[in-house]
């Protein structure tokens, strides 16, 4: 299915102040893959994500979503295919109630108002937030906000889910709930995170970025076993793959 491919071809980008954020980045992600984008702060992960649905336009090179290159003309089609979950749910939840917020995308897409309620309920139930429908977003806890933010995107029925730090700032249980959700999705998933244990659980493939470049692209096992590569990119293996801090032993892998 070429429809759900996400491909970047020699993508470069500089911010208006001259900061070079991406240097000739190329990759191809196929239908149903679950890919993590990892790297130190300032490595270019968030900038790259914003290229994927046209929030930023490349200085050179191009991004293709399925059969479309991302250009101003194809933006609507691209944004229908790529669902983006932002890092700070307060940026994403702007409507008066959770229900209105989840309905926002479908209504913009032209879904008939009488069918919207069913979609909203389904999306909220998928993230276990059905009981929050009538609440205003600013009265939710961080974990609830995060799940509702994911529901707002699910309601649009995207083929590709792009998430910026889905587990950042969550308590262990909320984090676990989000991980369970992510594992159950059949969408193509592109996730940035510093939570490498989550990455090890959820993603089969890992792309390592450093200084706006791709340093490595491989399976999670390969990448996390290469401690030299990780150290060079200001990263460490996931805690679950490091030696025990108490007895110094490694868990059998």
């Amino acid at each position: 299915m070429s429809h759900h491919i996400v491909a970047a071809d020699r993508l470069s980008f500089s911010y208006p102040d001259g900061t070079v954020a991406l240097r000739s980045v190329s990759f191809c992600i196929h239908h149903g893959e679950s890919v993590a984008l990892i790297g130190a702060n300032g490595a270019g992960k968030s900038t790259l994500l914003q290229q994927l649905n046209g929030c930023l336009t490349p200085s050179s090179g191009e991004v293709r979503i399925g059969d479309f290159p991302v250009t101003p003309k194809t933006l609507h089609e691209v944004r229908r295919t790529v669902g983006m979950v932002f890092q700070d749910p307060d940026d994403q939840l702007f409507m008066p109630t959770v229900f209105d917020d989840v309905a926002f995308g479908p209504l913009n897409r032209g879904v008939a108002p009488k069918d919207v309620a069913a979609q909203v309920t389904a999306a909220l139930q998928a993230v276990g937030a059905g009981h929050l429908a009538g609440k205003p977003p600013y009265r939710l806890s961080c974990g609830e906000k995060k799940r509702v933010a994911i529901a707002t995107v699910l309601a649009m029925d995207p083929a590709i889910l792009v998430m910026d730090e889905p587990t950042a700032g969550l308590d262990p249980c909320s984090r676990r709930e989000v991980i369970k959700l992510l594992k159950n999705f059949s969408h193509t998933r592109i996730i940035t995170s510093h939570d490498l244990d989550m990455v090890a659980e959820v993603c089969d493939r890992v792309i390592v970025m450093h200084g706006g470049e791709i340093r490595a692209d491989g399976t999670a096992e390969e990448i996390f076993a290469d401690t030299e590569l990780l150290a060079g990119c200001r990263l460490e293996p996931p805690f679950s793959m490091q030696a025990c801090v108490v007895c110094g032993r490694r868990t059998a892998s």
Partner: protein, 269 residues
């Protein structure tokens, strides 16, 4: 933050007043405000019966009167500041309370404060029984331009976020000021600048989040409420009462009646 959160919580209750369509409530409050404001500048006694409206709504909607009164009290000093110079400029004697002469300035100052109390109380109560969002929607359905309604909704949504950010920045300053005045006003200027820039960046991110979900300039809010008989009777009866109170000075009539009664008593010894 002026208790916006609590007001929203109050608005989530389900009394008969809460259940009325927001448009009826908005219209009644508008009529109320226009009527109160239309009184002459020296008028005091004729406005007093208008307290009937806020009192009735507070009772019917089971609102905490103390909370409402505190919210109103926060705003009244601003009204007093507007009227406070009137006694200096307008020194003509308007009436005598016994041997105490009251100038026009004092009368108009008191009138301004009374007006402000009435109108602000009505507005606070409106939000408390309707909710800010529903008030915006009602205003839009009554003809307020759409962009203005969207602005108001966003302002209300991000007021909390901005207020929290300001509170955090201010606390961070306080913790490192050790109870002194810190470095005077300088840090506050910088803090305000940072808040502006942060809000700016946030606005950009929100806009991106909206575009990512297909925003094309229109908001679709789904609300199924109608303007039925309860709304109509609420609107008509309060408007009628306001008109009666506007065109007959009831306290004055009572005063006249009492005077006539006593004078009549005196005439027949």
């Amino acid at each position: 933050m002026l208790g916006f959160r609590q007001l929203d919580q109050l608005a989530a209750r389900g009394t008969r007043i809460h259940r009325l369509d927001a448009r009826a409530k908005v219209l009644v409050v508008l009529v109320f405000i226009v009527t109160v404001v239309s009184f002459g500048r020296y008028e005091l006694s004729a406005m007093v019966p208008f307290f009937l409206f806020p009192v009735a709504v507070v009772v019917l909607a089971d609102l905490p009167a103390g909370f409402i009164a505190r919210k109103v009290a926060l705003v009244i000093p601003f009204a007093a500041a507007i009227g406070i110079f009137n006694p200096l400029f307008d020194r003509e004697i308007q009436l005598y309370l016994g041997s105490f002469a009251v100038s026009g300035g004092w009368l108009s100052c008191a009138s301004i404060v009374l007006r402000a109390t009435l109108t602000v109380t009505a507005a606070v109560i409106l939000v408390a029984v309707t909710g800010f969002t529903a008030v915006c929607e009602a205003l839009e359905r009554l003809g307020m331009p759409h962009p203005l309604a969207v602005q108001l909704l966003f302002m209300h949504r991000y007021l909390f976020v901005l207020a929290d950010a300001a509170a955090r920045a201010s606390r961070a300053r306080e913790l490192r000021a050790f109870g002194t005045r810190g470095m005077g006003m300088g840090p506050f200027a910088s803090m305000a600048g940072h808040l502006l820039l942060k809000s700016w960046e946030r606005a950009e991110r929100i806009h991106m989040a909206m575009l990512a979900r297909g925003f094309q300039g229109t908001f679709h809010l789904q609300r199924g409420s109608g303007f039925g008989l309860p709304e109509l009777s609420f609107l008509v009866s309060w408007t009628a009462l306001f008109m009666i109170l506007r065109f007959t000075n009831i306290p004055l009539s009572i005063g006249h009646a009492v005077t006539v009664f006593f004078n009549a008593g005196r005439l027949v010894p």
